[in-house]
Amino acid sequence: MIKPISTLLSLSALAISTLALPATAANLDIKITNLTNGIYFTPLMIAAHNANTHLFQAGDVASANVQAMAEGGVTSGLAMFAQSMGADVIEDAANGLLGPTTSATINLTNSGSNNFLSLTAMMLPTNDGFVGLDSLQIPTAPGTYTYFLNAYDAGTEANDELITGGGAIGVAGIPADPGADAGNGGTGVSMIDNNTHIHIHRGTLGDTDLNGGISDLDSRIHRWLNPVAQIQITIN
């Protein structure tokens, strides 16, 4: 875990909020890699925005837009919100699902004072797990910069780990397992969220019984540890 720790420290160093911000546009290539073993990212939304805008913040109660993204992979609400704040938005950076250990690269030009980068995507199969980046200050010097991202729990839906097709807000269950590794007939892992604010996801429990057990997920395939994604930003 030494590497993630040092990355977290360097991310923190970037978080000093009172540095003078040059208001110049930059052209960025952003490469996102899914680092998990068996988890898919639903449409990845990326936004370059100003210092006062957040797609989400750990510790807050999730907005309805975050809930829709985390429970069902729906990015339209978050995208409209970001655009209303003057952000430069890419709503589907990976052209659909981004599978385990695969990558996608997109190009983004940020404008004006949109010097902060955020990213969200639901993690499938989970109930309300998402990979997130909250307000990374975009580097200004040309070069390539690497960051690692964590998995969050939106705190809006109990992690029952049952594949039910439920992706709408407030509907229990997991919409689908794109990798088709999940089973069925589980009795349900958890009926409540203890922490109903956005927090670090405790991970999937799973089990090894595809036709029953406590979970429809497979503990050999669907577990992860942070970090769950890598992004490499190249300032052109």
Binding site: G59, G155, G203
Partner: protein, 226 residues
Amino acid sequence: MNITSSILITMVVVTMVLAGCNDNKSTVSEYSVQIMNLTDNQPLAPVAVVLHQSGYHVFSAGTAASPALELLAESGDPVDIIAEANNSTNVLSTAATATATLPGENSQLTLQGTDNDTVLSLAAMLVNTNDGFIGIDTLNLGDMQRGDTLTLLTNVYDAGTEANSETTTTIPGLGGEGFNIARDDHDLIGIHPGVISMDDGLNSSGLDQSHRFDNPAARITVTRVK
């Protein structure tokens, strides 16, 4: 913190300022420290925060825990960490939260430092573990200007002083025993391997799936206010 210890700490701070008189920048500074619990079901026991000079450590990964840290990590009680710090001439100020910081909640403390050599360390037990704690070992605040904010995500350490049996009788969050002087683990501080729980096949565990956690477990936000 009681009045007596406040006075003692003020005296320490004044001493530091005088000792640093060669440096014109040396003045009393003040920091607000916020602790956000990012776990699902691991209340944080009272958080001990120490502002000190370089060279002091509340704990260090790869070394054996001090008796004060063992008490904090096994029982949640920060009293000896605070007392030990208040007895050190390298410490500028200390503070501890009075109550637990529950999942999804924030705690806030205010501490005084100096302008030129102020380092932050902190520790707090995850109460539904045998001897797990969040910690920061020496975060340098010396470059912060008034109004600056620093955000840090913290991992969970294992004090290495108590076997991770997860039995109900050994987990204070489940009503079990806190501190025990025996050291029946490998006796070196490392990153916590996580809890297994009864829901994942450890039948003797008193913990359930909600107590599992991944790093980071807390977000620390330091703002220099003076």
